[in-house]
């Protein structure tokens, strides 16, 4: 048991901190050119695709280096490593594991140099949490698949160039009948309709596929291997350290709100219940960070993290709700006004639900870890 980092690892941390101090302008000083310049600098460092093998153009980084880079980036609220989140998190690693040489050459350089944008087509109107029941069909006709069906909650589909999606090529086998296709979003037969979030923001979409023809060369992995392609063990660091660091920062913001607030005519921080609520958040956030280190250790020992991510995801839900509740409570009538906290108190629901609702995480934990009978 040792929570310290080696001298080499600490040196890398110092390098990251130095880079950020020199290259990352304050949020208000970031102009329209900023994103492109920033991505260029990150690409030169090979910090975009940091975990990918060097021969594929990545940084060849180990888990601890990834962990440190993410942690330092999160501390200063740096923008994400590369603007194509879905492409870098899902598409690249899947291509590296399952793609043909031709597919890799075609897609990986564009991903690393931020020249493309991917969306991912998993959820369907009737198959959200129960993803493996998806029904969008692809039928092989000659050397083309013909795709018909509908995807939903597709983030960025309205400006993505490509979609990385799961389709059903066979109906008998639940998991074995799923195939992964890479489809240009400008293909004839694709229609995108927006879904506005409860704050009126447009990031989600419904995507309709009507006789969309896809060359067989755009299939990733073999037919029926789609589930494996998506679920395959990613070499990505998955400790969730960015989330824990993010929560730490927001706890400091909450303390700041509490310092300025009054309750019943007295400073709010003289109220034990306020102090103890904040202290409970602090302990829980520590637990989240340490749970992440435990997941990291497991990964370092060669075991892909699995249910650990459900644990921290549930904790995040346990934190988001009462932290916003307290922040708004401390604001009193001010909480009727639109401000950073009131806005977040609406948008955090997206983070809590995305990737599986709290009840789904509870099912995963009780069925996979506690081995209780499936519901």
């Amino acid at each position: 048991m040792d929570f310290d980092f080696s001298a080499e690892e600490e040196a890398f941390r110092a390098e990251v901190q130095e880079f950020l101090a020199e290259n990352l302008p304050a949020p208000e000083a970031r102009g329209p050119e900023f994103a492109a310049e920033w991505n260029q600098k990150l690409a030169e460092k090979r910090w975009i695709g940091f975990a990918w093998p060097r021969e594929e153009g990545g940084g060849g980084a180990g888990l601890i280096e990834q962990f440190i880079l993410k942690q330092e980036m999160a501390k200063v609220q740096a923008p994400p490593l590369g603007s194509d989140f879905m492409g870098l998190a899902w598409v690249g690693p899947a291509l590296i594991r399952h793609g043909t040489d031709e597919q890799k050459q075609r897609f990986l350089p564009d991903l690393l140099e931020s020249r493309t944008l991917w969306c991912t087509g998993y959820s369907e109107p009737d198959h959200g949490s129960d993803l493996a029941s998806l029904k969008t069909r692809a039928v092989l006709e000659g050397d083309e698949y013909v795709v018909n069906g509908q995807k939903i909650w597709t983030t960025s589909a309205h400006f993505a160039k490509w979609i990385f999606m799961l389709v059903r090529t066979e109906s008998e086998s639940r998991y074995g009948g799923i195939t992964c296709l890479l489809i240009p979003m400008d293909s004839p037969g694709i229609e995108v309709q927006p879904i506005l979030s409860l704050v009126g923001q447009h990031s989600f979409n419904q995507v309709f596929f009507n006789d969309v023809r896809v060359p067989v060369g755009n299939r990733l992995g073999a037919e029926g291997e789609g589930w494996k392609v998506v679920m395959g063990a990613l070499a990505n660091e998955r400790s969730g350290i960015s989330e824990a660091t993010d929560m730490e920062r927001r706890l400091e913001d909450l303390k700041e709100v509490a310092r300025g607030a009054r309750k019943n005519g007295r400073p709010a921080l003289e109220d034990s219940s306020v102090r103890r609520q904040i202290a409970r958040f602090e302990a829980k956030i520590s637990a989240m960070r340490l749970n992440g280190l435990r997941a990291l250790t497991k990964q370092l020992q060669g075991n892909p993290p699995s249910t650990e991510t459900s644990v921290n995801k549930l904790i995040r839900g346990q934190l988001e709700i009462p932290m916003h509740d307290l922040a708004l409570g401390l604001q009193g009538s001010e909480s009727q006004h639109a401000n950073q906290w009131t806005e977040q108190s609406l948008t955090f629901h997206g983070t809590v639900i995305g990737g599986g609702t709290p009840n789904i995480q509870r099912n995963i934990i009780s069925e996979r870890i506690l081995k209780l009978p499936k519901d």
């Binding site: 048991m1 929570f3 690892e9 102090r275 302990a283 644990v311 549930l314 009780s366 506690l370």
Partner: protein
């Protein structure tokens, strides 16, 4: 960075587990808890021979010379078994001598605490509301040979079985004017009164001191400078109790999960229903998180003493919340049989009630977390 136990540590834990499974199954626990002594002298002797009573005692004083990481792993297992014994008390008495005893005092008392021929415990406070130096009222009258102590110490764990007490007393008017001394049970003027405990696997009592002579050689450290040691002992006690909480909570969860798999209602094991499995998933998440906080705290004791106070406060607060909740969940998911003496789940509920105020309850520790967190 390595958040895991070594192979030797896992082996040691497995040995403890095996011993307790063989020598102290729940029927034996119940038998011992009905005895006058509240522990088995035979088992205590065996633990001494196995080296487990002096796990953290340096080898030169007859101990195993291991760290708190090793200790908390053992205490998790004794907690899981609700092992009735003065193990925590004895370990903390040894910790007091290790923290602030001089070489002569260590030579005199540590070997007996390590081999089981002498049982030690702490006698710190008199009041029920404050586990800190503020809770110490016992006044010492200086005389030619040292001090004379007259008064009572309440809430003394294992008072009835102890041969040696580490007694805290006041040497002056300022809050921090405190000292610790070793008082042997057979000294003139020393007696104890047993008090019935909510959890008969854990004994408690009152230490009565009637003109007890304490020679200077029995005072740990400089008289009047004991406050820092007392604070440290409260932190160490909080960590040790949290370790037994983690194990006991794991034990209670295991019992309840098994019951949920076995009990059939409405044509299905009740563990299939989300109303049953979801609280169990929440309990699992709490236990995982408590373990993370616990191992970090134990590591702080071994490697980063400046972090002990904050880590101890976080883990004891969090563990107390979690175990209190699990005590309730465990009984309720058992239904009517949970309310019987026959089923073991009630023993864990009792343990949760015992553990809550030990070395500070959740309010005490979360208040500290708040203060240390800058609010």
């Amino acid at each position: 960075m390595n958040f895991g136990f070594s192979e030797e540590q896992e082996l040691q834990r497995a040995e403890v587990r095996k011993y307790l499974d063989e020598q102290c199954p729940m029927a034996v626990v119940r038998g011992i808890s009905e005895s006058v002594e509240g522990y088995s002298a035979e088992q205590w002797k065996q633990l001494g021979e196995l080296g487990w009573l002096g796990l953290i005692v340096p080898e030169e004083y007859g101990g195993a010379g291991l760290g708190w990481i090793d200790l908390v792993a053992m205490l998790e297992e004794t907690g899981r078994s609700l092992f009735p014994s003065p193990l925590i008390s004895n370990t903390l008495a040894a910790a007091a001598l290790i923290e602030s005893g001089n070489a002569e005092q260590r030579r005199r008392w540590l070997p007996g605490l390590a081999d089981g021929t002498c049982i030690g415990t702490l006698a710190l406070v008199e009041g029920s509301d404050d586990p800190t130096v503020r809770g110490i009222g016992l006044r010492a009258e200086p005389d030619a040979d040292g001090f004379v102590l007259s008064g009572e110490k309440r809430f003394v764990a294992d008072a009835g079985s102890a041969d040696l007490f580490i007694v805290a007393f006041r040497t002056g008017d300022a809050e921090e004017d405190c000292a610790l001394a070793v008082v042997e049970a057979d000294a003139s003027g020393v007696s104890t009164n047993a008090v019935a405990s909510i959890d008969e696997t854990k004994r408690t009592g009152t230490l009565v001191l009637d003109g007890v002579q304490v020679e200077r050689a029995a005072v740990l450290g400089e008289a009047g400078s004991g406050a820092a040691t007392i604070e440290r002992l409260v932190d160490l006690g909080a960590i040790a109790v949290s370790a037994e909480i983690v194990g006991a909570a794991d034990g209670a969860l295991e019992l309840t999960v098994q019951y949920a798999k076995d009990r059939v209602q409405f044509g299905s094991p009740i563990g299939r229903y989300q109303g049953v499995k979801h609280p169990l998933a929440e309990a699992y998440v709490d236990i995982v998180s408590t373990k993370s906080l616990l191992y970090y705290a134990a590591w702080a004791v071994d490697k980063h003493p400046e972090q002990i106070a904050s880590a101890a406060a976080q883990v004891k607060g969090f563990a107390t919340d979690a175990f209190t909740q699990l005590g309730v969940t465990g009984i309720q998911l058992h239904g009517a049989v949970g309310y019987t003496q026959e089923y073991d789940i009630q023993l864990y509920l009792r343990r949760s009630k015992w553990a809550r105020p030990m070395f500070g309850d959740e309010d005490f520790h979360f208040d500290r977390v708040a203060t240390m967190g800058g609010i």
